[in-house]
């Protein structure tokens, strides 16, 4: 039986925003069992709010519509100092080490190779300009002397999510795409016909998987209980069910230092001026 301390019952709702890194319908279905589990454990309604874009996170936080959000690595690095939120935990997906890589991919029979000369004049599809994948593409091009995507690509389209990028590639609405390896893997698992259709042109250094961060305004006991609940979720049968739907084995604690690779890319791109190295977290590590 899932129970919660009495003093937590004074807060009625906890809203967690989710960035649209993949199909929003599947994304919501994945997180619903986890929210249900947290509702029981925290004795409050824990709900999901889908965000239609990565940029919507800032607006939602500013309007107080969300108490926390599951952010990608770039989102964490870029907003860490600005919003002073606390890192709670991130899932460790089955068969991975809780890190992902950014892939630059193209269809195998498109004639596009890792040689960037073959990329010229093609249409590039990315999820959002603020994702680590977009940063990696920019960093990758810059390392090869190209300062802007427009210098090599005919057009850049931000599809909104990683699986939308894949769909654009499959529908030939784009030739090259930047995607998270974990999303690509799940998409291929869901669409076996796509297996072997893509070639990886480049891949980034590992970055932490999407992490749950919460507002620093959230009561400390709620944050502590939330973190404790997630870190122990794999010990409970109900939690195991939620993890299975999420495709994860467990949740692990996240430290800001794990985001060094993304931070370095941003630094190389000259966008890391506002990044702070010290952790403002007030919650238990």
């Amino acid at each position: 039986m899932i129970t919660a301390p009495e003093n937590l019952k004074i807060r009625s709702t906890l809203t967690i925003g989710i960035i649209p890194e993949e199909n929003v319908f599947e994304l919501k279905k994945k997180y619903l069992p986890l929210m249900k589990y947290l509702s029981y454990k925290l004795a409050m309604k824990v709900q999901v709010k889908l965000l239609d874009s990565y940029g919507a996170v800032d607006e939602a936080i500013a309007r107080g519509e969300i108490d926390g959000v599951i952010l990608g690595s770039a989102g964490v690095v870029k907003r860490y100092a600005k919003h002073r939120f606390d890192l709670i935990a991130r899932p460790q997906y089955s068969g991975s080490d809780s890190f992902y890589k950014a892939f630059i991919i193209a269809e195998k029979d498109s004639g596009i190779t890792p040689d960037i000369n073959t990329w010229k004049g093609k249409k590039l599809a990315l999820a959002h300009e603020r994702t680590a994948t977009s940063i990696f593409v920019k960093w990758y091009l810059k390392k090869r002397g190209i300062n802007s995507e427009q210098q090599i690509f005919r057009k850049v389209e931000y599809a909104g999510s990683h699986d939308a990028v894949i769909i654009l590639l499959l529908e030939r609405n784009a030739a090259i795409g930047g995607v998270k390896d974990s999303v690509l893997k799940r998409f291929i698992e869901g669409h076996p016909a796509c297996r072997g259709r893509f070639v990886i042109l480049a891949e980034s250094a590992p970055a932490p998987e999407n992490t749950l961060v919460v507002s620093s305004r959230l009561p400390v006991d709620v944050k502590n209980l939330l973190k404790k609940t997630l870190l122990e979720i794999h010990d409970h049968p109900e939690g195991q069910v939620a993890l299975k739907v999420l495709g994860a084995d467990r949740f692990i604690a996240t430290n800001y230092s794990e985001y060094a690779a993304v931070e370095n890319m941003l630094h190389d791109l000259g966008s890391a001026a506002s990044i702070r190295q010290d952790s403002p977290s007030q919650i238990n590590k």
């Binding site: 649209p20 199909n23 319908f25 599947e26 389209e157 599809a159 909104g160 699986d163």
Partner: protein
């Protein structure tokens, strides 16, 4: 009976189980039909709900397209709700589709197949819709073509859902018809089964009742007959069950009761005989006691009489001696007058007899033991008869003597015994004033006794007087002293004998004197 009851009740139970099973089976069919009809309602409602969801999604899509909303959550909720309902709809007929025999007998099976295909088509369209809409909702680019395709998909999905709703309603009508038919058939079967069960149960109960009640009635009748004393009645044993055993036992009991009744009657008869015998013996003993009492009383009287007689005799002896002396003197002085002499002699004889009487009276009150001697009864009887020979009445009486020549001698007081015989013979002579027959007999009757019979053909003694004649001073004869027979009985009694009288008035009297032989061996002489 237990076996019959078990069989009967078992049959009843079996019938009711069959009836109940038939009823339950038909109710199950009716309920199943009703459930299937209800499922169609649920399916139709679900189709309606899905239509609302897809139309809600369409509206959100138009709003998004028009730029009025950037919140995709409502839209996503519509689509996910629709997707969830489609999954549920796909499972609505899964039990029928997974079971070929069940599906084959389903009255709307062709509609089920079409319905399920439509659901699957709608699910595929929804997946494509979700894929496109996720991109449309999250992309920063305008995808007008894709939006148009998405709207087209929603139209197709709406058509599918309308088809599903229509099929659900059609199946509901088909199933309602079937349900109504099955309800009618079930009602008919249940009524028929109930009627059959009741009739068959009545027959079984009737047979069972007869099997039990008839023997019981016979048993009760038999009990009543036997209770009223008819032990010859036998209950007819027609069964081998407990009632039969009871009947057999009862019959045996009746036989035993009859036997006991006979024994009781026999014992009762014997008891009555014993009672009579006892009464007779009591009467005899009472008579003997009465006689003994009489004897005691007579002895007491005789004792008084003896004392009186002794005194009287003593006083009379002197004057009688004086008179007799003078008579003898007269005889010597009146020898010449012969006629006077004869009278004087006669007076002298009478005086001698008076003296003898007084003497005998004295002897009577004396114990006979002192003069007891072996005496022949025939001889004593002859002497007594000789003494009476000269009595005038003897001329009209024929004397018949029947003496036993081998009669043993008895040890008795001869004079007393002679006095007894004279007394009895005198009574016999006086009972025959007009003449008659006097019979005297002696005989050895064995068993240690000798009997002397003296009978006459005189006037006899009335029965009321027969018991009194041995009492002292009782007499029916004018001028009698009433002492003769009482003294005689006393004498015989002192000799250990008995004197009895039998008499019929007008025909005569028999005196029987029994004397014991053992007195000869020293009874009186000791």
């Amino acid at each position: 009976m237990k076996k019959k009851l078990i069989i009967g009740l078992g049959l009843l139970l079996f019938i009711f189980v069959i009836g109940a099973a038939a009823t339950i089976y038909n109710l199950h069919i009716v309920m199943e039909s009703h459930r299937m009809v209800s499922i169609q309602d649920v399916v139709a409602d679900k189709a309606n709900e899905m239509l609302l969801q897809i139309k809600g999604a369409q509206a959100e899509l138009y709003r998004h397209k028009a730029g009025y909303s950037r919140d995709i959550n409502v839209f996503v909720d519509y689509v996910l709700g629709l997707e969830e309902n489609l999954v549920l709809a796909a499972g609505d007929y899964a039990p029928y589709l997974q079971n070929p025999s069940c599906n084959n007998c389903h009255p709307a099976r062709e509609h089920i197949g079409s319905y399920n295909e439509t659901v699957q088509q709608a699910q595929k369209k929804l997946q494509l819709f979700k894929q496109k809409m996720s991109l449309i909702m999250t992309s920063r680019e305008l995808h007008q073509q894709m939006e148009g395709e998405a709207i087209g998909i929603t139209v197709l999905i709406v058509n599918d859902l309308e088809n599903m709703k229509h099929m659900a309603i059609t199946m509901k009508k088909i199933l309602q018809l079937r349900r109504d038919g099955e309800i009618s058939r079930a009602a008919y079967v249940i009524a028929l089964t109930s009627l059959f069960s009741i009739v068959f149960a009545f027959i079984i109960m009737n047979v069972l009742f007869r099997k039990i009640s008839v023997p019981l009635r016979g048993l009760l009748t038999g009990i009543e007959r036997i209770s009223s004393g008819d032990f010859d009645h036998q209950i007819k044993v027609i069964t081998k069950d407990e009632i039969g055993v009871v009947a057999q036992t009862f019959n045996q009991m009746a036989v035993d009761m009859k036997k006991n009744a006979r024994e009781k009657d026999s014992l009762l008869t014997e008891l009555q005989f014993f009672n009579l015998e006892l009464e007779r013996k009591v009467s005899e003993v009472t008579a003997e006691l009465t006689m003994a009492n009489e004897s005691i009383r007579r002895n007491e009287i005789l004792a008084v009489v003896g004392t009186l007689a002794a005194g009287v005799s003593h006083e009379l002896s002197t004057p009688l001696g004086t008179i007799l002396g003078f008579i003898q003197l007269f005889k010597t002085q009146l020898i010449a007058d012969k006629s006077l002499m004869e009278d004087i002699i006669l007076v002298e004889q009478e005086l001698l007899r008076c003296k003898k009487i007084v003497s005998d009276l004295l002897d009577a009150v004396k114990s006979p033991k002192r003069e007891a001697a072996n005496t022949g009864m025939n001889e004593v009887l002859s002497e007594a008869l000789d003494l009476l020979q000269y009595q005038p009445i003897m001329k009209t009486i024929a004397v018949h003597k029947d003496f036993d020549p081998a009669l043993p001698l008895l040890k008795v007081a001869r004079s007393q015994m002679k006095q007894v015989f004279i007394n009895i013979l005198m009574n016999a002579m006086q009972a025959m004033p007009g003449g008659g027959r006097l019979s005297i007999a002696t005989l050895n009757v064995g068993n240690g006794f000798v009997e002397i019979h003296i009978s006459d053909t005189g006037k006899g003694i009335a029965p009321a007087e027969q018991a009194k004649i041995f009492k002292p001073f009782y007499t029916t004869r004018e001028g009698g002293s009433g002492l003769g027979l009482s003294i005689s009985a006393d004498i015989i009694g002192k000799h250990g004998g008995v004197i009895k009288v039998k008499s019929l008035p007008g025909e005569g009297t028999l005196f029987t004197i029994s004397l014991p032989l053992n007195e000869q061996r020293g009874g009186l002489g000791a």
